[in-house]
């Protein structure tokens, strides 16, 4: 009764990941899209940690360490972009950032 099979945790991770992916596809607000990206990253972090525990190898946690760091840096830059974009377009609607069309 004190056991949770690894596959349960991993399935939970994939649930979170795909929830995040779905949010990425359907939201129009750029900031919410970025948040969904963070969700996905978290799901991946948990996968790493689960494997670290299952395989008794701390390499997974080291990876998480770095992923968190990079996620922070990426968020900073991404939000800077959002701010710059807002200044020009006066909105944060993803439908309006289609300059690379065709």
């Amino acid at each position: 009764m004190n056991q949770v099979e690894p596959w349960v945790v991993l399935s939970f991770c994939s649930i979170i990941f795909f929830i995040g992916f779905t949010g990425l596809l359907i939201r129009r607000n750029v900031l919410v899209v970025l948040m969904c990206i963070e969700l996905m990253l978290n799901a991946v972090n948990l996968t790493f940690v689960t494997y670290a525990k299952q395989l008794q190898n701390l390499g997974g946690q080291v990876a998480v360490f770095f992923i968190i760091t990079v996620a922070a840096a990426e968020t900073a830059v991404g939000l800077g972009l959002v701010v710059a974009m807002f200044r020009t377009l006066r909105s944060v609607d993803t439908d309006q950032i289609q300059l690379l069309r065709e």
Partner: protein, 650 residues
């Protein structure tokens, strides 16, 4: 050594051509003297070389009179090997002599005639190129090389007829000449194909040997039907090039070119290449009576037909053009009855007097300020005496009055038409009648142009400008006078029974049948000679008498208007061709163009383009620029890939 004869005019062509392209095209008016001298020097040197070669040939023993010069191998494909080989034998040496000689005189004449032209260097370049092609034609040792020259003269004919191409009519005339020639050339080519298929070689000497061997092996081994076909195919080429029925229509139109061109190409040289070809291939024609009959009948019919048209024409050059067609018919008649030497003899003398007549006409046109209608001339005897005398010599020669050159050669043909085993009385009779016509229309021309009272002061001229008719400058008169002398004495090379020309040509053309014995003895021959002379004299007499009284001529013309109308309109041949051939072809082309070229091919080609464009336009819709769309596509990719890969595992 032989190739030098061809090389000099080629150099002249290049020199004048480069001069024209680099200098004259930038409109530097430099006059015709230097280009003309360059051109004349080139062809004159060829003439001297021809003389030297002739002398050399004469010094060789009779059976071995061949000088050969193999330059290089043109092509070798499978069994076919063609060398660029020039071969000089008695036949080609005669042709070479009169070609280069008359051409030199005409070049000198052109210096005067073309002195006001804007691009004289181009003119002399073309003339030299023509001479080069003609020399290649005559010296060619194999049929393809001759054909090369054949096409070359056709090309130069086009270039020179359409020399003043800014006039659409003149340009059309050039086109007509080239196209009609081309139709004949198809026959020539088919003949070559059959020869190669059956004999395996296109070299003329080799062919001759093969035929001789086949003859010695027995007549049964030779496929006469095939030989006849070959001969007729080759003759089709001659019909085109030498303006026989039905492909003569280009020659009268070709008078649109400058008169020296008419003299050189359409009187003395190019049109005689057909006769050269038949004479050259005599060993084939001798095998097939049918082919010979075709040649003779075509020639005779053409001679009569063209003479009838010449009687009713009013343009001085057109009369001479139809006269040329008629005389060419005579030459083919001669060949067609087996008397090749007689035909060749007439080629030589015809070159002299026809060139003379054309150049004389050139003087008249020049002196009358570009007037060519003889009804508006008259009385030029006193205004252009030197031309008058020379022209008279030419007219007498062509009419066949002894001792002028035309008499000997034309009479030889007429005699052979009577006496040869391939000939017949009818040939003789019709040929005789044509001679009468010839004398008549020449006298008409002469009379209307030079005799009587001048009719041209009545024609409207620019008020205040005096219409002075003058004799031509020396450079245009002296060549005519030289030709006149030749027209008088040139026939002596072919006096019957002492016939030097016939003997000279016999290694190539074979011994003529001993006609005298077959046809009633030499008495008959002299009798017929008298008859010929009488016929010519009759023609001249009628002509002089009739045209002394122009009012009577007009009355007669009115009474017989339906006849003269037909003759004047050339028996409506051009109109018939237009209706029967040209219009349907044009309509068919138009229909094909619209129905196939545009509808099918253009649609297909453009369709490819449109399809590509459509694909591109459709594909570009993928680039939406929205990352969420891209993410969606990624999702689909993940689903597909993972589903495929992991399905087995799960």
């Amino acid at each position: 050594m032989l190739f030098l004869v061809a090389l000099f005019p080629l150099i002249g062509f290049l020199a004048n051509g480069l001069w024209h392209a680099l200098v004259q095209a930038r409109s530097v008016r430099s006059g015709s003297l230097i280009p003309g001298l360059v051109g004349s020097a080139a062809i004159g040197t060829s003439f001297l070389a021809s003389l030297l070669l002739f002398v050399r040939l004469k010094g060789m023993p009779v059976g071995q009179r061949v000088i050969e010069d193999v330059l290089f191998n043109w092509l070798t494909i499978g069994n076919l090997s063609i060398d660029v080989a020039f071969r000089l034998d008695p036949l080609s040496s005669i042709f070479l002599l009169f070609i280069t000689g008359v051409a030199t005189l005409i070049h000198l004449y052109s210096i005067g005639y073309m002195e006001d032209d804007e691009t004289p260097a181009k003119f002399f370049a073309y003339l030299n190129l023509f001479c080069f092609s003609m020399i290649v034609l005559v010296l060619g040792g194999s049929l393809p090389l001759t054909f090369l020259g054949w096409e070359g003269v056709g090309l130069c004919s086009y270039l020179l007829i359409a020399y003043w191409y800014s006039d659409p009519e003149k340009a059309s005339a050039g086109k007509k000449a080239f196209i009609v020639n081309r139709i004949g050339d198809v026959g020539f080519m088919i003949g070559m194909f059959i020869i190669f298929a059956k004999f395996g070689t296109l070299d003329i000497a080799a062919l001759r040997t093969l035929v001789q061997q086949a003859q010695e092996a027995g007549a049964a081994g030779i496929d006469i039907g095939m030989i006849t076909t070959v001969c007729i195919c080759l003759f089709v080429g001659c019909i085109g090039k030498s303006a026989q029925i039905p492909l003569f229509v280009w020659l009268p139109d070709a008078m649109a070119g400058p008169t020296p061109v008419s003299a050189l190409i359409h009187a003395a040289t190019m049109v005689t290449s057909g006769v050269y070809l038949v004479a050259r291939m005599n060993f084939l024609y001798d095998l097939s009576s049918t082919a010979l009959h075709v040649v003779a009948i075509t020639g005779l019919a053409t001679a009569l037909f063209a003479a009838s048209i010449a009687v009713a024409q009013t343009d001085i050059k057109k009369i001479l053009a139809y006269s040329t067609i008629s005389q060419l018919g005579f030459m083919f008649l001669g060949c067609g009855v087996g008397a090749y030497a007689a035909g060749v003899g007439h080629v030589v003398t015809h070159a002299f007097f026809k060139a003379l007549l054309f150049l004389g006409a050139g003087n008249v046109i020049h002196g009358m300020h570009q007037q060519q209608d003889i009804t508006k001339m008259g009385g030029l005897k006193t205004k252009m005496p030197k031309t008058f005398l020379a022209f008279a010599a030419g007219a007498l020669a062509i009419s066949g009055i002894p001792p002028f050159s035309g008499f000997f050669t034309k009479d030889e043909i007429v005699w052979r038409a009577y006496s040869s085993p391939e000939g017949s009385v009818w040939f003789w009779a019709l040929a005789l009648f044509t001679s009468v016509l010839t004398a008549f229309y020449m006298t008409r021309l002469f009379s209307l142009t030079f005799l009587g009272k001048p009719r041209f002061q009545k024609s409207a001229q620019t008020p205040g400008e005096s219409f002075r008719v003058h004799e031509a400058p020396a450079v245009m008169v002296i060549p005519i006078q030289i030709l006149a002398v030749l027209s008088v004495i040139g026939g002596f090379i072919a006096i019957p029974h002492l016939n030097w020309l016939e003997h000279w040509l016999s290694p190539v053309l074979g011994q003529p049948h001993d006609a005298a014995a077959a046809a009633g003895g030499s008495g008959m021959e002299w009798l017929l000679m008298l008859v010929s002379t009488a016929a010519a004299a009759l023609g001249i007499f009628i002509g002089l008498k009739m045209y002394a009284n122009l009012a009577r001529v007009d009355r007669i013309k009115e009474r017989w208007d339906w006849v003269t109308g037909v003759l004047r309109n050339k028996w409506y041949v051009d109109e018939v061709y237009g209706f029967v051939l040209i219009r349907p072809i044009y309509r068919l082309s138009l229909a094909l163009w619209r129905g196939f070229d545009i509808a099918v091919i253009d649609r297909a080609v453009l369709g490819f383009g449109k399809a590509t464009e459509w694909t591109g336009q459709t594909a570009r819709l993928i680039q939406t620029g929205s990352i969420q769309v891209y993410a969606f596509v990624i999702l689909i990719g993940i689903l597909v890939t993972a589903g495929y890969l992991l399905y087995g595992v799960a």
